[in-house]
Symmetry: D3
Subunit: 246 residues, 6 copies
Amino acid sequence: MTDLVRSDGRSTGQLRPIVIERGWSGQAEGSALISFGNTKVLCTASFTNGVPRWLTGKGKGWVTAEYAMLPRATNERNDRESVKGRIGGRTHEISRLIGRALRSVVDTKALGENTIVIDCDVLQADGGTRTAAITGAYVALADAIEWARGKKFVGQKSQVLIDSVAAVSVGIIDGVPMLDLAYVEDVRAETDMNVVVTGRGLFVEVQGTAEGAPFDKRELDALLQLGVDGCAQLRDLQAAALAPEA
Amino acid sequence: MTDLVRSDGRSTGQLRPIVIERGWSGQAEGSALISFGNTKVLCTASFTNGVPRWLTGKGKGWVTAEYAMLPRATNERNDRESVKGRIGGRTHEISRLIGRALRSVVDTKALGENTIVIDCDVLQADGGTRTAAITGAYVALADAIEWARGKKFVGQKSQVLIDSVAAVSVGIIDGVPMLDLAYVEDVRAETDMNVVVTGRGLFVEVQGTAEGAPFDKRELDALLQLGVDGCAQLRDLQAAALAPEA
Amino acid sequence: MTDLVRSDGRSTGQLRPIVIERGWSGQAEGSALISFGNTKVLCTASFTNGVPRWLTGKGKGWVTAEYAMLPRATNERNDRESVKGRIGGRTHEISRLIGRALRSVVDTKALGENTIVIDCDVLQADGGTRTAAITGAYVALADAIEWARGKKFVGQKSQVLIDSVAAVSVGIIDGVPMLDLAYVEDVRAETDMNVVVTGRGLFVEVQGTAEGAPFDKRELDALLQLGVDGCAQLRDLQAAALAPEA
Amino acid sequence: MTDLVRSDGRSTGQLRPIVIERGWSGQAEGSALISFGNTKVLCTASFTNGVPRWLTGKGKGWVTAEYAMLPRATNERNDRESVKGRIGGRTHEISRLIGRALRSVVDTKALGENTIVIDCDVLQADGGTRTAAITGAYVALADAIEWARGKKFVGQKSQVLIDSVAAVSVGIIDGVPMLDLAYVEDVRAETDMNVVVTGRGLFVEVQGTAEGAPFDKRELDALLQLGVDGCAQLRDLQAAALAPEA
Amino acid sequence: MTDLVRSDGRSTGQLRPIVIERGWSGQAEGSALISFGNTKVLCTASFTNGVPRWLTGKGKGWVTAEYAMLPRATNERNDRESVKGRIGGRTHEISRLIGRALRSVVDTKALGENTIVIDCDVLQADGGTRTAAITGAYVALADAIEWARGKKFVGQKSQVLIDSVAAVSVGIIDGVPMLDLAYVEDVRAETDMNVVVTGRGLFVEVQGTAEGAPFDKRELDALLQLGVDGCAQLRDLQAAALAPEA
Amino acid sequence: MTDLVRSDGRSTGQLRPIVIERGWSGQAEGSALISFGNTKVLCTASFTNGVPRWLTGKGKGWVTAEYAMLPRATNERNDRESVKGRIGGRTHEISRLIGRALRSVVDTKALGENTIVIDCDVLQADGGTRTAAITGAYVALADAIEWARGKKFVGQKSQVLIDSVAAVSVGIIDGVPMLDLAYVEDVRAETDMNVVVTGRGLFVEVQGTAEGAPFDKRELDALLQLGVDGCAQLRDLQAAALAPEA
């Protein structure tokens, strides 16, 4: 892989500046305002006792997520989905992705019959909103679980989180695989992939799409490697954010 | 009026700490993240050329507003209006109030056939979200108009803003009129009033509601006076936020 | 205050001809077809045992209201909200206002765990539909409570209604405060205010809006006085309509 | 056919008292408040220049209808369709029926490129609301056409209405065919039929449904004859209502 | 009645080729893919224990139907009703018609507290989709009842079906009554009628509409006779499809 | 890879029986009823001149897709999305996937300003409905393009299709990678992947999800290889279906 300098000065395998403001919200059981460069997502975790009716009595908890964008998070204003009266396909798709990613690291039996809803609201969008959302949502989730442990809604020794999870976008631009695409890069990418990886380095989700020309196995492998490396860095930043203050 | 100390230590006629982060959003033509204590509202102003069809060709501009709350802005999570597929009455009512308040200080002829949409999204709610929204929205609006002037969409000397506008809540608790109610105060208030006042001290909107017992003219007068005084302080804070940096 | 003659010959402090046809509907537990001049609103009160789930077991009743307009109540036909699939902000806002006004004079404990829904359907609109609706809704409500007393759903001596309530619009036209604006006056008003007042002369709701120029305290006081006087006349007309026939 | 006396004292072939209050609405181009006994329907006709896009440029007009019921038109309150956010199948079905019935007597070429929307709002329901609506709608339609002629939107000699149209319900109760069923009869009917007939006595619509046992040709013929006779009476009442005052 | 040859070579009283593929679906409790010429409707019957809440505890079952068209069942593509977010009036009307037709031959007490939902999805439309749907739905319904009998959800000797039911369209083209109109005929018909008839030859539903000129009693009688004869043929084809294989 | 026999007797790398009934619909410009075992999807292609407004005047065409399931395509009946009034996230997600897959092999400039809408309606579902839909949709698309060439809406020599495209599901069950999962296999799979591959063997879309445990690179590679091999077989079956009859 070449080491070209990008429009913002990054190397091809370099993340944008990542900032995780843990506990941004004073009201949620867990929260994080995460920035991937100019992309800013507010993630809040809401813990409630009980589970949806279809899960009642099975001794398992439920974790789900909802993603949305403020109307002026983007360069041009978009109509609100509440005003349009319907949720778009993209919103649905990303909400489902975040939920699956989080559930992959949760032991729902250890969670008990409790529900955690993660809201990921994009305050500012500059590419990679879904991967920032997953990465920040994990921090909010971890705090909500600790909150519930404090309240004895979850056992003192229950290992609800069996691993951490983070996500990053990768793509091929002018034939060169690159990590963590900003919006200006995203629109130029021939291939666009989102990779969700656990702290141990295993895949939870791989979603690659040829936006321009179809891609081959060699390109796919290069993208996966970049993504795995990027997620390892994000894992370390999550751990630092969650570390007790010295 | 007595000078009791409130749960947060304020006197009856004292505002909560007000913070106006002008230009919070990197993408909107104007923006402000405004805090009234723990109430935080992100206000963005989106400027576009042209007006809605029903106004076309009349030589006038259009200013409108949309208000919404993030699902976990409050102590308990609320379902998203986009998920419910319909906007609630409270949301509609507040959006319309903000729009009217802003239009009262805009000379739509001086604006020309341009549209400004103000989005007020409550990130955290602790009482007085609609009054914080109006107060912050004015700052975002003022910046969007200056942006448009810079782009020559608005004449160099056009006085689009004919005054400033701010808003504050007042209420009667245990018989005592108080300024700028926090949520714990709001739920205890017998009478609740929102006052929208121009920089010159004239009323744009007065909305008083007896939540408990009906109120008399003397109580009404005391509330109005508190509101006018509070808005004068907010006007000065808006002016400071909008002042060019020295 | 001057005593100009208006387009329909009224003095500035004079109501339009008010007609209250009590018991217009043969099916509702209480009803009134009320006219404020050419504004005609059919108000029906539907009494049912039980309360909404969120109020169950608290020993209190519930009173709520829904306002709507027939599509051709106005000079130009409006699309039905059922056809549009959504209720507009104005409809929501007025329904909420009517419900609050009625609840301000109801002792919900004395009502017991029963629900009264008031439907206010505007058959013809000529300004002041919301104030006519409140004034007529009170009559329908009073009759529904007596019906319930007859059925022993409410105690023989329970004082469910602790006062009466009426409403009227006031406004400033060409600098002159006027009572009970007809539509042609309403569109010309610089300031428009709706005042909801109990039989004892206390305020339940004060909603003043500067449609043109902002208003000052002196104008506000003049409007409030006109509104209080108008509501006192409406109170007497309500009492006459509700009086047992001699 | 026997001549039994019914619960309200009518003979089997007798209509309920029919009242047509022509011009009830002061705002619509044509209107009628029609009563079939306790069933009351307000019919308004709204005339506008132009036609829907799919009909533009064909030199033809358009006539359509919308039917709805007030929530407390019935013995028990029904939720508003605007609140439910969707129009029910029954409402759709009746609106379409009324529109077809009216169009059957309109020469759309003579109408020119104009649209007439007929709103039929049931203020009180006691059986036969759709047939009362058609019968009253014809009167409102006739007046709207004359209004348009006065405004020269329709030629002075254009024969827009090629016939009149009325409708009535018929049904079999305890084996006996009966005309114009009230609600208490309707729910007991084994077979229920709505017949729409022109002034000249021709069928526009025949809708017969076996609610209980299926019916045979002899029963069908008896019902049709009753319906034709009832519509002839309604035709005469329509003509009387539309007659110029002496 | 004359015996003209039609565009597809049929005589005026001749059905199109009718094919009933019983058991087309491997998953439903009963199913049939029915063709009336090029009109193809997939009918599935879904049996579940229990009834809707409003019917619970009355010892009766419930049979209902839903009709829909694939977007490209017709010559030009129609938008999906799911995409439009609302069901059209025509769809509602036909679903209700199918449900009534089926319920007319079901003894709901013999069915017990069970529900059968019949879905009729038009895969290809060439006129007469609602009558094909009713005719095919009966076959699916009969099989679902036998399935339930096999599962002992319905008594071994319960006579749930008290008759069979079929439907066909008839119409007048150029003054000539004709049976089972194809789409090209339907659009030319002056009068259009759908007739639903039981196996014993009694009427369940008669719906005649003057599309062009109104019709008289003689024409109505001719159409009814054609419809009764056509339904007798369909009844025999249903019986053959349901016959146990030799 | 081991060669276990599966519940339906297939080896791990074997497709279910694939049947492509090209031209099933008599009305669409292109169509195919495709079966992957018991999964049956009706794919129709609707060709129209012109493009959506946002694409007008750019000299390019548009290809889009809509996916839906009949309510009783599955073992238990699902409510219709048209009745629910909203489209679910899964439906949106799959519709978007099919559209992207098809567009990846279309030269939209060669298509000219024309639109092709592909409807994929699942008549019966037994796993792999989205991959069957893509594979069948390609056949419908190819025929619609040839139809348009015949009508001269597309140039005689324009190469609109630059490759073919097919899709298949792969998954890991009990640690063993398998091709083309039936429903009973799908629910047991630890990892589930859909692979969309062009005729030349390049990837268009790779969507892998850990339903149970996360997966590693070796497992991912095994799944991709199975998928590429499966798509090569499907490509040959598509070519055979599209071959001119001898």
